[in-house]
Amino acid sequence: MLIAVAALAIQTVAPLRPTLSIGCSREIGAAVEKIAKLTEAKDFKGAAAALHLIPGRETNVAWDDQSVPGGSRYDFGRSRDLAMAEWGTAVGLTQFVVSKTAPDIAFSFVPDGGMTLEWSDDLSKPRLTVKIGVKKGDAPVDPTTVHNDVAYAIGTYLGITKLPLPGLLMSGVDDATQILRLSGIEAAIARDNVTSCEKVAEQVGRSLPVSSGMPSMEADPQPVKLGPIIQGMPIELSFAIKNTGAGTLLFRIIPDCSCFSTQRTQVLQPDKSEDAKARMDTTNFSGMVQNGLVRHNLYLLSNDPAHPVRQIPVEVKITPRYRLLPDRQVVIADDNGNVTYTAYLYAPADHPLTVTSAESQGLPGAVTFEPWSGIMADPDLNEGPLPRKGYKFTLKLKGIPDGMQLATNILIGTDDPNFAQISDQVFVQKGIIVLPPQVSLGEVGKAPRKRSFFVTRRGKPFSILSADVDSKHLDATFETTQTPGEFLVTVSYDGQAPKGDYHATVTITTDDPNQKTIKIPVTGTVR
């Protein structure tokens, strides 16, 4: 009687339906499915044996380094230990043990070539056999590469598919020159997979059924091509997803840019449909020579082992919300240090922008603005003279000192919340100017090096009387250029200064009573 009740109780326990992580691999999905089918056929002994196909609490790692040159074996072993420790810590549920007995993963080395991975469903063989080339091309493989290869192989064993996102260990990049660290998402996928496998193992251990039937994502996300879109306008993207499988489908979009906002992992029961959504903020993309072409990628991750990751290219053309002209402007102050500068703002004709305020930021001054329309070219956009409509700004500055190039901004307030405050940088200068104001020799060795720079005053010629230096390792000469009021000064470094940072000063003497001497710092690093 008691036995009958117990049997009834077992029969009424709902079978476990394992849910793997988004980004799970085809192989782990197939292995869980195989175990589930064995339990459904009440072959719990076979299912228990098949647990070898999925990661468990302990992972045996066989390590055959006979083909490795003796001098590298120790370092390669350390690389392996580091990779195992990282995964062990990150997942927390499984320990990696180097053992020749019943290995789950078997590493060995071959004379040449990149890493190869081979799965086996044969329960008497290692689940994953990994071969690492001692040489890749002509170059001997180094401990860094061994670490990254071992870590990638372990991630694969833990059921993570290749993830094409930049910067991830599981992206499987071939160009690494240093050790790759596990990211949070890789650790989370492995943890969720191992947790699911643990539950499967517990169920099998108790001779309880596991439901077969994986989720299946029906989705056909096509590459997105949009535009032109006015900068700042949001773009809503959605991709229809249907779960045509038997298991619970998890999916999530991971973007390669924070200009996208996406939803958290979504859960979809069998036969249900839902959209995966992403929203793109275009505020940070202006036009210029790229013609506003923006390319990014969305990665649709799911726990459908047949389609764990799909890459969705997104291409959008974005038209600038506004343009400020002229660009990168240098303004010359008059003899009294006064500057009057005019700038223009225009917006697309069908998306006008209302200016609400304008002020000077930086140098003390005043800005006025008024509506404006006229014909103007926009060289940066390669647009000739065209009718434009917007605003005209007049910046007035006073007291600009001699011999300096100073930056200031016109701060403009607008009625567009995405561009509530925009700024136009203006450079003003007066008197004799040195271009650039400081001269760098760069990193220098024993070889002599020359550097030239301009000393100039547009529209008002002057004379250089002398050019002196305060360092025995430097010499300075000067000559006129074809531009009136401009000199080319050349400093010659002799390559003999002691190691370390090098600082010297060139002193230019002129015939201008307001700028009798001009000092130009010269810097460098001596190796």
């Binding site: 160009d175 924070s258 506003g292 990628n297 990168r328 930021q361 956009l381 919340p417 760098s440 760069g442």
Partner: protein, 419 residues
């Protein structure tokens, strides 16, 4: 007779070398539009990009004598003093990496003739443009031969380059024709670096089918696969120096297209790391923070002043990364770098804001007023002076796609949630 024999032997050797080179695979590395991002900003992980990683990758990909490495201009975005120092550092670094040619685009020319002269001294013979009438008068070249290629540089906005350098513009079509003709004369394949859009590149490929390759400019990431228009390959490394595109060229065909993200798997190159350290020293020595334009605002109080009334919010701030944002910069030697400091202190753009750790320690780090605005008047008279309501837009000035590529409001807000 002996001389003739020797000359003949040398000629045979050169011919043999040429033949060998002709058969050898040429590695083509495409980079450009660094836009001033010398370093991947350290705000979130894994950041992509930076010249130290790029140098490591370029050296790894390069094959001595058989590499064409192109930098398609766009070194910087603006024209301030820091931009000029960045451009010099980039030119010095590119030269160390063995760059074949650097295309001078509108932004680069916008730095002015003084800066162009400096760049030409850091990377002698490498700066080129076909977009102005007299490039040599501005220390620029037009083309550079490299293996089977003749490399030229041009922009679709030649007026912008010409205007900045005081020269006359050469229309793009004529620039490209000059390149194609010169390549034909030299028996080489023309390769064009274009500071211009994909559409323009496609049009040029159609109009000049002899072009072997066009490198163009685009935001975001490079395309996933190689693109051809006719027999011309079109490729872009994307924006901000985050990616490098690598191709191979053998027997008249391109192949092996790869778009490689400059991720943390690339160890910083030691030589370029030295140049980068020197850049940071120069930025500090020139005191560029002191030269920033500032606007008049109300006065700041510092976050500690908020605690007496907003104890819970201040407690959360005290335990947040925001509080230590300036210390993070100091550890990374970026505490004098205006590019970085503005997002790691309070009110750098204000006459009443952060000046230095010594003079305004209460404003070092991201504080309450970074988002809520100057609050000294509110502290003095809480009921009379109210601070404006803010939204998640307050985050986006710093947590933008380039500096904070993993930013997602809900998850980030949870780290500092307060009322």
């Amino acid at each position: 007779m002996k001389l003739v024999l020797v000359a003949g032997a040398v000629a045979a050797l050169v011919a043999g070398t040429t033949a060998l080179r002709g058969e050898a695979e040429q590695v083509v590395i495409l980079s450009g539009d660094t836009q001033g991002y010398l370093s991947p900003c350290g705000c979130s992980s894994p950041m992509i990009g930076g010249i130290r990683r790029k140098a490591a990758l370029v050296r790894k990909l390069s094959i001595s004598g058989n590499t064409t490495y192109l930098e398609n201009g766009g070194l910087v975005e603006a024209r301030g003093r820091q931009d000029a120092i960045k451009a010099e550092t980039l030119a010095e670094s590119f030269e160390a990496m063995g760059v074949t040619a650097i295309n001078v685009g509108p932004r680069d020319a916008g730095l002015g003739i003084g800066a162009i002269l400096q760049l030409s001294q850091f990377a002698p013979g490498k700066l080129i443009t076909l977009s102005i009438a007299n490039p040599e008068a501005h220390y620029l070249g037009t083309t550079v031969p490299s293996g089977p290629f003749l490399v030229g540089g041009a922009t679709e906005a030649p007026q912008a380059v010409a205007g900045s350098l005081g020269d006359s513009a050469v229309p793009l079509g004529r620039s490209v024709k000059d390149l194609v003709d010169a390549a034909e004369t030299a028996g080489l394949k023309p390769v064009l670096m274009l500071q211009g859009s994909h559409d323009t590149a496609a049009r040029l490929a159609h109009d000049f089918p002899d072009l072997a390759l066009i490198e163009y400019s685009a935001f975001g990431s490079p395309p996933l696969a190689i693109e051809t228009v006719g027999s011309t390959v079109l490729a872009t490394p994307g924006e901000s120096g985050k990616f490098v595109v690598a191709l191979t060229y053998r027997d008249g065909r391109f192949g092996g297209y790869r778009s490689i993200a400059l991720g943390p798997e690339l160890k910083d190159d030691p030589e370029v790391s030295r140049y980068y350290a020197a850049y940071l020293r120069r930025v500090k020595e020139e005191k560029l923070i002191d030269a920033l334009p500032r606007k008049a605002t109300a006065a700041y109080a510092g976050s500690w002043a908020c605690g007496s009334c907003h104890a819970s919010a201040t407690h959360i701030w005290k335990g947040s990364d925001h509080r230590f944002a300036f210390q993070t910069l100091r550890k990374q030697m970026h505490d004098a770098d205006p590019d970085c400091v503005s997002c790691h202190v309070v009110g750098l753009d204000s006459t009443k804001g952060f000046r230095s750790q010594a003079s305004t320690p209460q404003l070092a780090g991201v504080g309450c007023e970074s988002c809520h605005g100057p609050a000294l008047n509110h502290v003095k008279s809480p009921s009379r002076v109210k601070l404006p309501r803010i939204t998640q837009k307050a985050c986006l000035g710093c947590h933008n796609p380039l500096n904070s590529p993993n930013f997602e409001f809900n998850s980030y807000w949870r780290k500092i949630a307060h009322r």
